[in-house]
Symmetry: C2
Subunit: 400 residues, 2 copies
């Protein structure tokens, strides 16, 4: 069996499943790490495996610009080329086109600081999106069909329809029009995928509708009714974590229960607990690895002197002479020997290996967190699991 | 036995030995990799071990400025702090003080391009050297005693006396005066080391004398006659590879034969074959790892389309679609799965992991080279070994 999704247990606490792909099994709930340009930043595939990773994703937007889908295909496809050889997902390119284009979607959704990159989106029409390459300014025209074609060349197991990702500031009318165009794009994606389906890839549809329950319902019905293997919850999820939990909550109530459901771009610890309880099967976010490159190490509350953040900042001078690992009870390669004092030194000295060592910890941490959640769902002990892994109260800050 | 050096075989082709340290054995001839700031750039200690590394070095100059010898001591000393736990050497700090100070010694000696860093050396007196930190401009005063004291805190197995490293353009008179001061500094280093000797570290003296046979003779006699565990060949080695081979050649004829001899800062493949034939036991150079970070992969002549360089440039567009590894007959982690096309993509995309993957290859390559040289010395087959590993004729370019 090359593809399959089975739900082994489903309760109000969340659901346990197995997602089978041609490149291996993924036990869900699972976290998908971002290997944006077909490489985990500062981490090798051997290190990804040692950190118990199940699945990674790459971004079609970046890879279509460099080195291009055709080149990836010539080099054996993503799994072989990257040396990962395990399950992979690619997104459609839409999120980056529109977030770089509007210059604000990602910031708004994730609550991070605004970015100051030049806007590269030139136009959106019924046919597709025209944008400039951030590398050389060359103009590209991406259609739903072209996104599927590029993703076919990239060769990931799980691929995603092209959608328009609307900024938060647009009104319900714009959101509705955009959603309906994304639905038409989803159908075009589905048709293009079906035309060349050789059993090696499966397609996810994306639920749009912004923060509006009525639109989310229309989008759920549309995606539920069409022949997508998996469902991704996308679009604008609101301006705050509370609103995001609301939007995901009422959306998930309307999503059919037999397909794997992915929550796009969310990876804070408390957000994952909330998402699991709402029935989400997979998550992805650059947060764990981006945080690591800035010196942030994810820690359980018992290893965290700060009651408001899910990580410690290894650049803090309090760690200069600290000869203890990030977490004494952690089984990752880094915590076996590297002290916080040494990591502090490496970060201050701008040594690249600091990024590797802290990333390895954060990746292992996320995989252990997901394993703990799966164990807790099996044993009906999610409350004590949450207490062990997640800050108990107050707003958390998962931005880097 | 905590320290020992035994010579198992000595011929005109070179010599085979074993250098025993409290942190393990080093089979010689050996290459010592540069972990300048107490970290290999972009490579973890686990990866260093997998690449068959025997010994690494760190630079006292960088570590005394950041994080400081006391902090390294508090974090367990270099071997524990870095997670390397194998044999280590530290230099005295002299080379960097004087090369950054003059702004040209390293460039001249190694034949690389001139650097444009600000000169930081403020003064050299009989007492020591005064220089400014490249990090924060703070003034430091380094004496021979202080260098030993810092190296004691760092805790490497093998440590080195402070010397003045003269630029190439100085005349014989200056070289002679400098050499004699370096000799006095060597005695002060030796005295300081002996005062606190607890059996955990051994001291190397450095032979000075520039390109002048008469001065090299005086320096050899001085170092031979004093109680140094090992001998390093330092100072200016000339302006060309041919002159360097000459200077090392006539120097080595005068060096006593019972001590391990290290050639400072030399690491080209042809230079290593020349040095081994002259009796050198250990080499060090940033070249293999610095080259890697710029996309240069060391290759045997059979895997090299260029007859003039010891490496291939993976940034070259000829590799865009190349699905073969750097060397098909290489056993390194990288060559097991990574194609030249993928490495080309990672380098163009400025992915940090490119530095890791190419560094791993170059480190493994150097260790295999040294193993091949040791095997060839044992079997008296150094000529065929040289033919397999080194370009047969013409000037080689080992600069990055």
């Amino acid at each position: 069996m090359t593809f399959n999704f089975t739900i082994e247990k489903s309760t109000e606490q969340g659901r346990l499943g197995t997602l089978v792909t041609p490149h291996g099994e993924v036990k869900t709930p699972a976290f998908i790490f971002c290997a944006t340009k077909a490489a985990m930043k500062a981490v090798t595939p051997v290190q990804m495996c040692s950190a118990n990773t199940q699945i990674i994703l790459s971004n079609t937007y970046h890879l279509m610009l460099q080195p291009g889908g055709e080149t990836v295909k010539k080099l054996g496809g993503l799994q072989k080329m990257t040396g990962w050889n395990g399950p992979m997902l690619t997104d459609s390119g839409g999120f980056q086109i529109f977030s770089l284009g509007h210059g604000s979607v990602a910031s708004e959704i994730k609550g991070s600081r605004s970015n100051h990159r030049p806007k590269t989106l030139l136009s959106i029409t019924e046919q597709g999106a025209t944008f400039k390459s951030y590398i050389d300014g060359r103009t590209y025209f991406l259609t739903p069909e072209e996104s599927i074609c590029v993703q076919r060349n990239l060769g990931a197991d799980l691929i995603v329809v092209l959608d328009e990702c609307t900024p938060f500031h647009v009104d319900k009318n714009y959101t509705q029009e955009s959603m309906r165009m994304s639905h038409r794009w989803a159908l075009r994606s589905l048709n293009e995928w079906q035309k060349h389906d050789d059993g090696s890839q499966k397609l996810y549809g994306i639920i749009q509708g912004g923060v509006y329950p009525q639109l989310r319902q229309e989008s759920c019905e549309f995606i539920n009714d069409h022949d997508f293997f998996g469902i991704a919850v996308g679009g604008c999820l609101g301006a705050s974590k509370d609103q995001m939990h609301d939007v995901v909550g009422f959306t998930m109530e309307m999503v059919r229960k037999d397909r794997p459901v992915h929550l796009l771009g969310i990876g804070g610890i408390s957000d994952i607990f909330a998402g699991v309880a709402q029935g989400i099967d997979t998550f992805d976010c650059v947060h764990p690895t981006r945080l690591a490159r800035h010196g942030g190490a994810l820690v359980k509350p018992c290893n965290n002197p700060s009651p408001t953040r899910e990580h410690i900042n290894l650049r803090n001078s309090m760690y200069i002479n600290d000869d203890q690992p990030i977490e004494p009870d952690c089984g990752c390669e880094t915590c076996q020997w590297a002290s916080k004092g040494y990591l502090h030194h490496l970060l201050k000295a701008q040594e690249m290996v600091a990024c590797s060592l802290v990333s390895i910890h954060n990746i292992y941490f996320m995989n252990q967190l997901m394993q703990a959640i799966r164990d807790a769902l099996a044993d009906d002990t999610i409350d004590s699991c949450k207490k062990e892994w997640s800050l108990s109260s107050g707003r958390t800050n998962s931005s880097s």
